[in-house]
């Protein structure tokens, strides 16, 4: 039985299995040669440790971690918090994470109150279609009703973000989960998806060259209820910096959202722009059922919302009157977030968003949103050409 230096080294480091440790120990007890060997191995190890210990920085060299963290946070490129990645994160937060681990059981309270509460409470603000642009994908999961999309131009994304962050903090309380998110169910074909989802799903008849379906899945949305009282909402608005609006009179209000099944199709696309990874994700869901408390004027609440995301009072008042808040997904969009254009897609008006600077890392990422026959569609693509996007959207059947 051999005890090579590697075994001896592992023995010294306690890295052998227990029986092997014992075997080597027993062998060393009766073998002088191996004892000398293990002493030499140990000495070399000690010398290494002693030499490497000389390489430590002095106390004055060691930066303060908290300062460094603040510095890193300040330097994180905008792309890190980019529109699309936030959409994706939110989507997955809701579908995957919460669905998988259970909204109550495995999810930290802040996240619970955040992911669901934020959106539901936004609904309380009178918005059936409460929609910061970066939340649009989450909306597809059915937390509101969309019959059309409208972009409102604002000066900066900062206010949208801070408003959203505030809501994410769970300030508005804990929603009651009447039905949790379902697990994502991978299905073989569209017929199976429809059998689960209970509505007609559409998939593209044609795909761009090199594209193939990677996954087709169905996820049931949650049914949640959130009760808030007026002082709480007022406090949230105060924190958002909106102090000069008067909330409608109510004591407590319950918003209930029953979200539908979401059908999601993922596609891989081979090399359309050379070596870059490319792909698409098509998400569709019918409008959810939403019960709002009676007696609240949606336009008033819409105006408050526009104020909260940073729109000046006069503009908010004027624009709020022009929007049908009961059916419109309002997407506050600032020039620093990227660009959007109105397009005709699938025979209806749609919106195409492209993030500024999105070509830097993952390549060119865009999102196309539209609504047809009561179903909301979102097509997220990365490194896919215009014609490829339109081909998919226009050949849905």
């Amino acid at each position: 039985m051999t005890t090579d230096i590697g075994t001896l080294q592992a023995y010294l480091d306690g890295a052998l299995a227990a029986d092997e440790q014992a075997r080597v120990a027993a062998h060393l007890a009766q073998c002088d040669a191996c004892r000398r060997q293990v002493t030499a191995v140990q000495a070399a190890g000690w010398q290494t440790a002693a030499l490497l210990a000389a390489l430590e920085p002095g106390p004055a060299d060691l930066p303060a971690a908290a300062t460094q963290l603040a510095q890193l946070r300040a330097e994180l490129p905008v792309a890190q918090d980019a529109l699309w990645s936030r959409w994706l994160r939110r989507l997955n937060e809701m579908r995957g994470n919460i669905g998988e681990h259970g909204l109550i059981r495995g999810t930290p309270p802040a996240l619970r109150a955040g992911a669901i509460g934020a959106l539901v409470v936004l609904l309380l603000a009178g918005m059936f279609t409460f929609a910061p642009a970066r939340d649009a994908m989450a909306q597809f999961l059915g937390l509101f009703r969309v019959q059309q999309f409208t972009v409102v131009d604002i000066d900066s994304s900062a206010r949208v973000q801070s408003f959203e962050d505030m809501l994410q903090s769970g300030i508005l309380g804990q929603p009651e989960i009447l039905r949790d998110f379902g697990d994502e169910q991978v299905v073989a074909d569209v017929a199976a998806a429809e059998a689960l989802a209970g509505y007609t799903a559409r998939l593209p008849a044609e795909l761009p060259e090199g594209a193939s379906m990677a996954k087709l899945s169905v996820t049931q949305g949650p049914h949640v209820r959130l009760q808030v009282d007026r002082p709480t909402v007022q406090m949230a608005l105060d924190m958002a910096g909106v102090t000069d609006v008067v909330l409608p009179a109510f004591d407590t209000a319950a918003v209930e959202v029953d979200a539908p099944y979401v059908v999601q199709a993922e596609y891989k696309v081979d090399n359309p722009y050379g070596e870059r990874d490319a792909g698409m994700m098509l998400v569709q869901a019918p409008s959810p059922e939403i019960d709002l408390p009676p007696g609240i004027d949606p336009a008033t609440m819409g105006e408050i919302y526009l104020r909260a995301v940073g729109m000046p009072a006069a503009d908010a008042s004027r624009i709020a009157q022009t929007i049908d808040w009961t059916s419109t997904a309002v997407i506050p969009f600032a020039g620093d977030m990227g660009a959007y254009q109105e397009v005709t897609v699938d025979g209806v008006p749609g919106l195409l968003f492209e993030e500024s600077g999105a070509t830097s890392d993952r390549g060119r990422e865009r999102v196309l949103l539209w609504q047809r026959d009561g179903v909301v569609y979102g097509l997220l693509t990365w490194n896919v050409s215009d014609s490829g996007m339109l081909l998919v959207a226009d050949t849905l059947q």
Partner: protein, 194 residues
Amino acid sequence: MTNQWSQRSDARSVSGAAHRSETEFDALFMAHYDSVFRQAYRVTGNAPEAEDLTQETFLRLHKVQLDPGRDHNVRAWLLRVVTNLAYNQVRGDNRRDRREDAVFDGQSVAPDPADVAVRNDEQAQVRQVLRRLPERDAMLLLLRHAGLSYNELASVLEVAPGSVGTLLARAHAAFASAYEEATGGSAGGDDDDH
């Protein structure tokens, strides 16, 4: 470059990405900052450089969104990345040193002024010896020194766990003899009496 989208087929990794909230990132940063910085400093011996390398390492952590099932390996991941980055930097320095050697025609390389300011001779010498070792040996020693387990080392170096002991023992020996050679066989003074 890790592509967030390409991971989508793996539902677990995606949901893990969602789990990795900014708070969680901050916690990881605070928990591991010191050990990552120390590792960068061990290689470069230059505090501002080590600081930059550490920031770069955490920037990458922020980007990758590790799989949640492997959260316990964040530390190993960070140490591996920072050691790699530091060695990339050192390789560049070595090339510069060699060019300078050629230019100054065999004159001994002038030590980095920053080195002089912050390091004593022994530290500089140990670092030089370490840099002359085969890179795999040096990284193995540094990562082990930073506390990686045999299994973690095996996965970093892409070797069987069973061979880590042998590689380590050889690297110790190589390091010891390179140091003795550099210091004329006496300065080490670690020739233990038995």
